[in-house]
Symmetry: C2
Subunit: 413 residues, 2 copies
Amino acid sequence: MISTHIAGYRQQFFIPDGVIYLDGNSLGVLPKATAAAVAKTVEQEWGNGLICSWNTADWVNAPRRCGDKIARLIGANAGEAIACDSTSVNLFKSLLTALALQVKAPERNVIISDIDNFPTDLYIAQGLRDLLASRTLELKFVKRAEMESTIAAFGARTAVVMLTQVDYRTGERYDMKAITALVQSKGALMLWDLAHSTCAFPVELNACNADLAVGCSYKYVNGGPGAPAFVFAAKRHLDTLDAAGTSAPISGWFAHEAPFAFDPLFKVTRGIERFTVGTPPILQFAALEASLDMWLTVDMHALRSASVVLTERFIAEVESQCAGFGLTLATPRGADIRGSQVSFRHAEGYAIIQALIARGVIGDFRAPDVLRFGFTPLYVTEDDVVQAARHLREVMQSREYLRSEFRARGKVT
Amino acid sequence: MISTHIAGYRQQFFIPDGVIYLDGNSLGVLPKATAAAVAKTVEQEWGNGLICSWNTADWVNAPRRCGDKIARLIGANAGEAIACDSTSVNLFKSLLTALALQVKAPERNVIISDIDNFPTDLYIAQGLRDLLASRTLELKFVKRAEMESTIAAFGARTAVVMLTQVDYRTGERYDMKAITALVQSKGALMLWDLAHSTCAFPVELNACNADLAVGCSYKYVNGGPGAPAFVFAAKRHLDTLDAAGTSAPISGWFAHEAPFAFDPLFKVTRGIERFTVGTPPILQFAALEASLDMWLTVDMHALRSASVVLTERFIAEVESQCAGFGLTLATPRGADIRGSQVSFRHAEGYAIIQALIARGVIGDFRAPDVLRFGFTPLYVTEDDVVQAARHLREVMQSREYLRSEFRARGKVT
């Protein structure tokens, strides 16, 4: 049963007629309050307030203000998170920060990650290795099954372990507390990517003693396409960086201690603002903040219960309705090691997803063979789950996915 | 005289009642078409189209599509410019790219810039020097008067010269063609920051044989607060980078040759897309593109003529109406070495600007003593100029700027 607290949120979202939307793990739907918030920012703040809105509408503090709100959603404190840039750029800055924190241990030249991690995480590490040729960084990207043994074997040489908590293909979840403790027992730092965690279930960064984290706001957070991402750094590390006078990872003017003093010498600001770089994208922030303000009213444990109800039900419905059609569950059966998505594998996965989309059931496909369905309890109902499974059965039974228009590649998501 | 072609654009902008807006060099006003474009992107593309809009509304190509439009405004060709990230992040990437292009000349370890350059440009260079400790980068930030002699003296050791074409305080303009030629005659690369150039006057990057450039879209371009910035790289350099297989400066997934193949190995894409990093901010792109589509109809030479009319008139009006009040012209008298702004110096500059803003005449202040007025001919009229000068005279005559509410610091812009 989904609680009435959670079920009551659906009316706050704009759900197109005839659509069952199981892709909120890729792009969350539009909250009704957002359209008005963006229009207000465009018409009143930009249109009427013009340049003065940097002060009067407090645009200048949007990254920190939203960061403090995000902090409450990820088990962090005010001053430990900031909203800025893209997840990719924030990964770049976070890895540089991890290396700065390990500056007294130059023998720690290994970055460990999961070879099935979302590629941009791996790409950023590869680019950084090439960029910092002097440090001779070594990358160890291994399978999840080998993660603990790799951390054990390379721990003393490892600067940072970088993992996405929930696998973007399978929805499998790492145990944040246990992995963080293991990594730290070796003297390494732990960097979590919360792309598929934030607002998908309760995240407790400080309870897990996390070091660094990044996350995305356009999936479960509903912040809109290309919403500002965020960075978390534990206060103990911010204090260390401040005390050492460590520079900002990308030293743009918003990371200066007095950006509007126009001093030619870079002096890094204290605290989490060291992660900001350039002028914040204010229209995106208007959308993000509208969404965050809604999220701060949500009971995240009730959300998690609803998510388990939806994912368990979808697995059960598909396995009973679609038995014999070659769909293999890619997501763990144990809800305790699952995020808020369910994935199946099928060689014709791409075409099956296109056929479902044509029926108004929107999931997505991840190469090579993953059909991915996200369950966002604020606006997905149990009836949606049952209907989606029925459509999937009909697509498989009718073999309509074999139609050429569904098999032709070209769509990017 | 301002041509009817240019004067006709004013009706396309939302100008608040009672406001004379001379700060379009900091934040351009709202084009009327933009509010509708953003609402359409929020409500129809995001709200109704949801994830499918990455394809159906072609969100995924927004950076390149807007980059190609910007290219036409800066004298570049399609495929030489891309819209992404902030100017600061783009400076970081452009400097790294300049160093990559100089990879066979490790003795070229100097970055030259103007000590009065906009600080974020200088900050990014300082951060890069600290980041790339192995390369022992040396920074030479010198006064404009010493620029040519510094380039001559350090040229053989210089990797890149980084200049903002128009000084953000004084509006003085570097001769793009002459400086570029001088820098290149020494074997160094030229990186132009076009923050106060793009849509302020005709920019001819390729006619000047420019190497690299960055620019901002929220000032004269009217792309909205925090609009995506852009990067330009000459085709010859893109070809060199492609042929050498040089990695992306920040290797996020959008710089991968096939972002949606989810390959764990980073393989850099060809062409200008190497400068993209993460997911583009689609709401900001909606605003930016609405503005660019208007700009592509503007005769930039007519725009420049109007800009000269407005700036000359303002100088003449202020010098005649405000004689004896201690305002000193900071902008060159020669229109040929001026951007589209006029600045005066006064020890009480901050308070004078606040007093003007209280009267609805919006300019801005740049420390330590610069009163800055931007002239954006698409929506500023000659009558605005005359009225603004009259208000300035009244503020100076009445000494109302000495009121405590105008002298209290705290506003950031």
